[in-house]
């Protein structure tokens, strides 16, 4: 494929030939000027400029947090941040990627922790150093109120941190810019796991279902399916009752012999 495709221009994601005229604008990658199409994201613009990305590129879809980028516009002193795979280039922007940030990550055994603020404070004593500058919130590409969840961590509100930080992609941009050297996203995931494990109500039906499986309750019914010929299987498949889409949680099927 490689040999065959050499020289063929693909727009990323599509693999299709790109057509039509492009409107080129200047951007400055680490200070060097390149002309790139104005419709590209920073990530694709870097590739267009000739970079082959190894660092700073993962999902290409705004969820893995690999592509943290800082940039500045020439008419402003303000440093802005974004995800390179999500941010469309702006003419004359100066940019650099921060694909890795060496933030502190505590090592712990989740089984031995309790879901309290003290635990978080012990593992991440730096949380108290927050000076309330709000730079983290301004930096967050996911629009998370980072400073607020830091405040919740200080207050010992584990559930609050978990909820507020849920959309965090762990890109590290908040930590990179924090004057207090916090590892916001690392204590955020600690809180989410503490919440998920200890504070959120447990799923009772799940525990019961697991017990049923351990008691081999479904062995027999599954065996009949495994033994069935294709025709029978297709028949059973066609006949299976479908739970209506707007059905409430307590919906039950008419035929309950296999549930």
């Amino acid at each position: 494929m490689v040999a065959q495709r050499k020289g063929k221009k693909r727009t990323e994601q599509t693999g299709k030939q790109s057509e039509g005229k492009k409107n080129l604008v200047p951007i400055f990658i680490m200070g060097q000027k390149y002309m790139v199409p104005d419709s590209l994201t920073i990530q694709k613009a870097m590739e267009y400029a000739g970079y082959q990305l190894v660092r700073g590129c993962g999902c290409r879809g705004g969820i893995c947090g690999a592509c943290g980028t800082v940039f500045r516009m020439p008419d402003s002193y303000r440093v802005e941040v974004g995800l390179a795979c999500q941010t469309v280039v702006k003419p004359n922007m100066y940019l650099a990627q921060i694909p890795f940030f060496p933030a502190n990550k505590a090592i712990y055994d989740i089984e031995k922790l309790s879901p309290t603020g003290e635990v978080v404070a012990k593992l991440y004593p730096e949380v108290f150093k927050c000076v309330g500058c709000n730079v983290c919130t301004k930096s967050c590409p996911m629009d998370i109120d980072v400073m607020e969840y830091v405040a919740r961590a200080i207050r010992g509100d584990v559930a609050g941190v978990a909820e507020l930080s849920f959309d965090c992609v762990m890109c590290g941009l908040c930590a990179a810019r924090c004057p207090a050297e916090e590892a916001q996203y690392n204590f955020a995931i600690l809180c989410r796991r503490l919440y998920g494990k200890y504070l959120a109500p447990r799923a009772k039906h799940l525990a019961e279902r697991i017990r049923e499986i351990e008691e081999n309750r479904f062995e027999q019914s599954l065996q009949t399916l495994m033994d069935a010929d294709e025709k029978t299987l297709k028949e059973l498949y066609k006949q299976r009752e479908i739970e209506p889409i707007m059905a409430e949680e307590d919906w039950t099927p008419e035929d309950n012999s296999f549930v």
């Binding site: 490689v2 660092r55 590129c57 999902c59 399916l225 299987l233």
Partner: protein
């Protein structure tokens, strides 16, 4: 990019038919499903798998004669990145009990289970730990956890029906029986699944499900699972060593025919190194970045099918690779978001698919292959009711605003926060305006053959996750892949550990299988300078390349 004036005009038509469609949805009046025999016809005519000329037979290896996509045959009929004679296997750089190749969901789950059973683990992955398709999964994970209305029995039927009844029954049984246990394991690790106030796990429908059994964590289910597993892997540093930016290039065997580890390439320092292991787990995921038939893809940057190449060269058979999964709904607008997945959950929550005239044309929860084929048909000249995009493509509308009308204002924002913010970046409010979608290359239905213990035909080599094939038959249902990778990742980790305790490595390390494969290529008359595994796709600018006068490319890599 907000919608263009032309598209806004077309959206007005969608708005007109919306209230009536919402009413019908409320009453449970769905668009009729396509009968089984009719399904086949649509697939044959419109699904990309059946497009004539889209496949060719592999000329070498254990599946010689098997016809699959050109792009996959291209990487299988290719030479190694290295000359086996240049590699000194007597110099072992790392030695471990269990080597895990790939840092996605399957790899991380395998690492945790292996460690838990007393093994020293080395997990090596191409990019960062968690830069993987697992991270990108949005919709959810299936498991028959609801008593009184669901059971592994129905889950089994759904999996088989979705897969065209050709799935490996033993793998399916394992999948559906392990599913609730996997959910319990994840809950124990602290994954934050969406729950009702009493702790009941929230569940939804997905394409091809007979019961609502799709569990989710907002619309970032895969990310929640992946970051939880990653955190846990990092919490066990004495037993699990993680190597990032380290790509497996070849498996290493013993001259007695056992798998004994792998040869790696450090993407940053560009050096090769040898890992020797008592057992190896291949968990390298899928191959969307091969851009089969030039389709756009939802997959992560490193999804280049490397594991298929590694396993195949070492003699492991492929299964079900003749079908490829196109996700029915990938974004086609705005251009910057092209290929991105719009989760099936939107349809599960009540959004209609409608054509340019704002008419419904398909039931929203057909199995994926059928749904995708129906959309392609609608956009084809035969029907000609696709919505034209500014880049000259066609799509159909996914009418997300219906969800707020059905389930209350704010639902879209609270249930789909990820997509909400993504589209807001482009000035599109998806609770008010529909999305424009088209099928996109999504999932490698098949892969390396395994049994229910995740063993491959090569002793000491285990495989799990998207790299393997069998459990989903010819078509995977949504939510069964996150389940697949966690279920079989755990099983692979456990069985690799048991194997490592039972069997010791005998004989000398060798890359003879690679030499043999090269000879087989020559014998079959395959003359090529193609190199595999691909490692990363090539998105660099050919204009720039032309001027790189002293640069050498090996395959796609500089």
């Amino acid at each position: 990019m907000p919608y263009t004036a032309e598209l806004k005009k077309l959206i007005k038509i969608v708005e007109k038919t919306r209230p009536a469609r919402v009413e019908r949805k409320k009453k449970g009046q769905e668009f009729p499903t396509i009968p089984l025999d009719e399904r086949e016809k649509i697939l044959k005519k419109y699904h990309p798998d059946f497009k004539s000329g889209s496949r060719r037979k592999i000329r070498v290896g254990p599946n010689k004669g098997y016809a699959i996509s050109h792009e996959v045959v291209d990487i299988l009929e290719a030479r190694s990145r290295v000359d086996p004679n240049k590699i000194d296997l007597s110099r072992v750089d790392y030695q471990t009990d269990i080597l895990i190749i790939g840092g996605g969901g399957a790899g991380a789950a395998a690492a945790l289970l292996a460690q838990q059973h007393g093994a020293k683990v080395l997990l090596a992955t191409k990019l960062r730990l968690g830069d993987a398709n697992t991270m990108m999964a949005e919709g959810g994970i299936q498991a028959a956890t609801k008593r009184g209305k669901d059971s592994p029995y129905y889950h089994y039927l759904d999996v088989m029906g979705g897969g065209h009844f050709v799935n490996d029954p033993k793998l399916v049984k394992t999948l559906v029986l392990e599913a609730p246990k996997v959910m319990g394991w994840l809950e124990d690790l602290g994954a934050m699944f969406s729950k009702l106030p009493d702790g009941t796990l929230k569940t939804m429908h997905g394409g091809g499900t007979s019961r609502k059994r799709m569990h989710y964590a907002g619309d970032i289910t895969g990310a929640e699972i992946m970051r939880t597993l990653r955190d846990e892997v990092k919490n066990r540093p004495t037993d699990i060593k993680v190597l990032e930016f380290s790509t497996a290039i070849e498996l290493i065997l013993t001259d007695q025919g056992q798998c004994a580890g792998a040869l790696f390439y450090n993407l940053e320092t560009e050096e090769y190194f040898v890992v020797k292991a008592k057992a190896t787990v291949l968990a390298t995921g899928g191959s969307g970045r091969l851009h089969i038939q030039d389709f756009m893809t939802t997959n992560h940057y490193g999804a280049t099918g490397d594991g298929l190449v590694l396993g195949y060269r070492a003699g492991v058979k492929l299964k079900f690779l003749h079908t490829v999964q196109y996700h029915p709904t990938g974004a086609v607008f705005p251009e910057q978001a092209e290929g991105l997945l719009i989760t099936e959950k939107f349809r599960g929550a009540g959004a209609n698919l409608v054509n340019v005239d704002a008419e419904q044309f398909v039931y929203e929860r057909e199995p994926r292959d059928v749904e995708a084929a129906a959309i392609i048909r609608e956009c084809s000249p035969d029907v000609g009711k696709g919505v034209p995009t500014p880049t000259g493509k066609f799509g159909v509308w996914l009418d997300s605003p219906m969800i707020d009308m059905l389930r209350g204002p704010g639902t879209v924002r609270s249930e789909f926060p990820g997509k909400d913010i993504l589209f807001r970046r482009y000035d599109i409010d998806i609770s008010q305006e529909p999305m424009l979608v088209h099928p996109t290359l999504h999932y490698q239905n098949g892969g390396l053959e395994i049994n229910e213990r995740c063993e491959t035909s090569l002793p000491g080599l285990f495989a799990a996750g998207e790299v393997s094939g069998g459990v989903h038959g010819e078509n995977r249902l949504m939510g069964n892949s996150l389940l697949d990778v966690t279920t079989f990742g755990r099983i692979a980790g456990l069985n690799a550990t048991l194997y490592a305790k039972r069997k010791s490595l005998k004989g000398k390390l060798t890359l003879d299988h690679v030499r043999k494969y090269h000879r087989a290529l020559a014998r079959a008359g395959v003359k090529t300078d193609r190199i595999a595994p691909m490692i990363l796709p090539d998105y660099s600018n050919p204009e720039v390349r032309k001027k790189q006068l002293t640069t050498q490319y090996q395959g796609t890599l500089r």
